[in-house]
């Protein structure tokens, strides 16, 4: 038996805004964008990095009743806004270059690239508050 990670999910406050951010600012590709009227206009929206076709992130709208009661929905919205709903960890082979490129597209970093024992690390947030880390992992074998 074996399995692979195919898709992981992020809660977002606004799918259009999130889509614009992850494609135009971060530079990811849309993998899937399908709205299903028979499921109360549920929209399956996924994005992923170019060159890594088998992994995607679902940008999931926080649903209302009957899927999620109002109070829980409010709690989830609040948790995301407070930055406690999870993190996406991206790796890159050149953190400084990625920082320059993303900044030039208007992406605001919360942490500029910094040397850490494990590599060069930086971070930003999506409009909803989800944290994204962008790390150039140190290859210990090259030392």
């Amino acid at each position: 038996m074996s399995f692979r990670i195919a898709t992981a999910q992020l809660w977002v406050h606004d799918q259009d805004e999130a889509l614009k951010f992850y494609t135009e600012k971060v530079g990811m590709e849309v993998r899937s964008d399908v709205t299903m009227p028979e499921m109360g206009d549920f929209r399956w929206l996924t994005v992923g990095p170019a060159g890594q076709d088998d992994v995607a992130i679902v940008l999931m709208a926080i649903p209302g009743p009957p899927v999620m009661d109002e109070e829980t929905g409010e709690q989830v919205r609040d948790l995301v806004a407070k930055g406690f709903a999870g993190t996406i960890f991206l790796t890159t082979d050149d953190c400084h270059a990625a920082y320059e490129e993303l900044s030039s597209r208007g992406l605001e970093f919360t942490e500029a690239p910094e040397e850490r024992p494990y590599g060069i690390d930086s971070s930003f947030r999506d409009p909803s508050g989800n944290s994204v880390r962008l790390t150039q992992v140190r290859d210990l074998a090259t030392l």
Binding site: H13, A81, E111
Partner: protein
């Protein structure tokens, strides 16, 4: 225009504290980042994150200071200034109250920073090579 939960603005202030703790940043700057008056901001921040913005900023600075004490050989005064604090006296007091030991004692309780420095092997080979010690050649050279 998408609906933005109020906490998202507070998170901007928290991110600012995390990102620019090393600058002379204060609660007023954090309130400005959140777009709120100082009094309202402090109240809302505490309600969202369970501690005052002042406490958050100070503990962020102390956390970074502790890391610098563990991973560098910089002086305590330098560490204090590197995390955006101006007074060595208040830094030492806050640090001791928070960690239970003074900055110097805290540092002494960890292995020396040099142990964790990932110095490339080529540098170690060049700088670590001992000077050759001999007897006759040296005295012969000295006699010249």
């Amino acid at each position: 225009m998408a609906f933005v939960p109020p906490a998202r603005h507070l998170l901007r202030a928290k991110d600012l504290a995390d990102a620019r703790y090393f600058e002379p940043l204060g609660v007023d700057d954090l309130a400005r980042a959140a777009g709120l008056s100082r009094a309202h901001f402090s109240r809302e921040f505490r309600r969202a994150f369970g501690e005052s913005p002042h406490a958050y900023l100070l503990t962020r600075r102390l956390e970074r200071a502790a890391a610098l004490l563990r991973t560098t050989d910089r002086s305590v005064a330098d560490v204090c200034l590197s995390v955006g604090l101006q007074s060595i006296g208040s830094f030492t007091t806050s640090f001791t109250r928070t960690f239970g030991v003074s900055p110097t004692a805290y540092r002494a309780s960890f292995p020396p920073a040099s142990r964790y420095a990932l110095v490339p092997s080529c540098v170690m080979r060049v700088y670590g090579r001992p000077q050759r010690r001999t007897f006759r050649e040296d005295s012969a050279a000295a006699a010249l």
